[in-house]
Amino acid sequence: MKSHAPQAVALALWGLVLLRSSIDGRLDLLLRGVFHPLVSIAGLLLLVWAMLLVLPLQGRRSKTAAPVVAEAVTPRHWQSLVATALIAVLLIGLPPNPSFADLAQRRPGDDSSEAELAFVLPPAQRSLTDWVRLLRTQSDPRLYVGDPVRISGFVLPRNDGPPLLARLLVRCCLADGTPIGLPVRWPAGNPLPKADQWLQITGSMAVQQGLDGEELVVIPQRISVIPRPRRPLEP
């Protein structure tokens, strides 16, 4: 038996996986935003490629070109096709649901030293990532005491203290995600929040004695449980 069918079906399946991933929002959980168009374009190209393989192109061939020789389909081709189909079904049917806390607990924190920030937002408009980056350029925590805070993030348990409110920084994909976080003075008498829970905290900044000297801590006035944001990863 000679046919281009196994290649065409396999290419179409990979194309569907990439397009489905672009549509169902999972890319927001897996990849940095700059890569999203690349995935969509690759998915479209794979589908077009598969269609070109099954469409009869022979009629449009140049007269000088060699005749088309379809490749013999071997059992190995069918095995590859079955494996591709199985993987495609699993990828489409089982969307990712990672635990950011589990991932972050097994990673060292982001330790990059920031260059001087060109633009600093007013305190109440700063995200958690903005606060962490600002603290790296102006590391004296006393400068920010009393500043209003409105930040969101997931709860990241620590072995050496109460949980942090954290975010994951991603340069490429989830595999290179590194956590950043801010200490929070959780209300006394209440149970500590669960790992991975997404919270929005409104409050103010204060200073406390940490393991490495004075550190900034968020004093919450209001803590709300929120769903995981549509784009939870930070660049």
């Binding site: 290649q7 290419l11 890319l27 890569f35 590859s80 990059s112």
Partner: protein, 328 residues
């Protein structure tokens, strides 16, 4: 299974998807370039005109990286096309091992990540060329029939001049003719017409299908190791100059992140490690990592793959040690 086990499986599944979905477009770019080369230059004559000199070959192969601004996944199908098209072995290997670093996107991302460390902007491409040279010279010690996978070798021998293939391996041609005549005859039997587009598309499709499955295997391995192994252990090892280099080399193999963005990742722990270790991370990952292992296995037999891995590890260690001696 307990809740923690399920959580870890979910995280590993997400890591796998992240690695795979990010790498597939780059793999597609590589396969498309390979297919385009096959269509535009049937028989790959221009490949056989690349220099075969032991030093000039790998250097010219490395320089070809500027023509393919993709990461290592995209380079494998192009290197395969070079090998089966009859390019000199050293040239194809020089491209395979150096091009993932020696391309404009990777150099620009390294500069963007480390603008205050100009030595790194020089040391990374120079180191990549040195590693590729070392590996090309090392792998030449193994005869091609024991280095390359059987299907690559078979197609390569069809595209090589008869004079380059020994008598027992020839499938066509005449015994007893001179080298010059053999070459002429080989040239004359090359098809002058382009292969039909559908045949090129079918060939490329088969290549993509095969490489994508190998990529899946590599991503599964990388995701599992990343989930099981806490990354902090490796960084904690990096207190002394040599152990920091070894730790970062292990980290680059495990993380399997693509070479166009690995500099930004390195930025996150650059302050915790020695300069040599930082360079080791940026040099070794593009040559060999868990995600790439399956793809490279499509070109090289296990012996070649092991020798390439060991050679890459040793040359990166030596270069990075020298950097530590110089900068520390």
């Amino acid at each position: 299974m307990d809740q923690q086990g399920l959580t870890r499986i979910n995280t590993a599944w997400a890591l796998f998807q992240g690695l795979l979905i990010e790498a597939l477009p780059f793999l597609l770019i590589g396969v498309l370039i390979s297919a385009l080369a096959r269509w535009l230059a049937p028989g790959g004559r221009w490949l056989r005109r690349l220099p075969a000199h032991p030093l000039l070959g790998p250097l010219s192969g490395a320089a070809l990286g500027f023509a393919l601004p993709a990461c290592e996944c995209g380079n494998v199908p192009v290197a395969r096309r070079m090998l089966v098209g009859g390019a000199p072995l050293g040239t194809a290997l020089g491209f395979l091992f150096a091009a993932p670093v020696l391309n404009p996107i990777v150099i620009a991302s390294t500069w963007a990540a480390f603008p205050a460390q100009p030595w790194l902007l020089l040391a990374r491409p120079i180191g990549a060329v040195l590693v590729a040279l070392a590996l090309s010279l090392l792998l030449r010690l193994i005869p091609e029939e024991r280095l390359l996978q059987a299907d690559v070798l078979a197609e390569r021998q069809l595209n090589q001049p008869l004079s380059a293939v020994n008598l027992l391996q020839r499938r066509s041609g005449l015994v007893g003719i001179t080298t010059a005549t053999a070459s002429d005859q080989q040239e004359s039997r090359q098809p002058l017409t382009r292969p039909p587009l559908q045949e090129v598309l079918s060939h490329g499709g088969r290549e993509f299908m095969q490489l994508a499955l190998l990529l899946v295997a590599g991503c599964v391995l990388a995701a599992l190791v990343q989930t099981v192994l806490p990354r902090q252990w490796l960084l904690d090892l990096g207190s002394s100059p040599t152990s920091s280099i070894l730790a970062l080399m292990a980290l680059s193999v495990v993380i399997s992140v693509c070479s166009s963005v690995d500099a930004f990742l390195a930025l996150s722990f650059a302050a915790q490690v020695t300069p040599g270790a930082l360079l080791a991370f940026l040099l070794l990952g593009p040559v060999i990592d868990l995600k790439l292992a399956g793809l490279l296995g499509l070109l090289l037999r296990p012996r070649g793959l092991l020798l390439a891995s060991a050679g890459a590890g040793l040359s990166v260690l030596l270069i990075s040690q020298w950097i530590n001696l110089w900068l520390l």
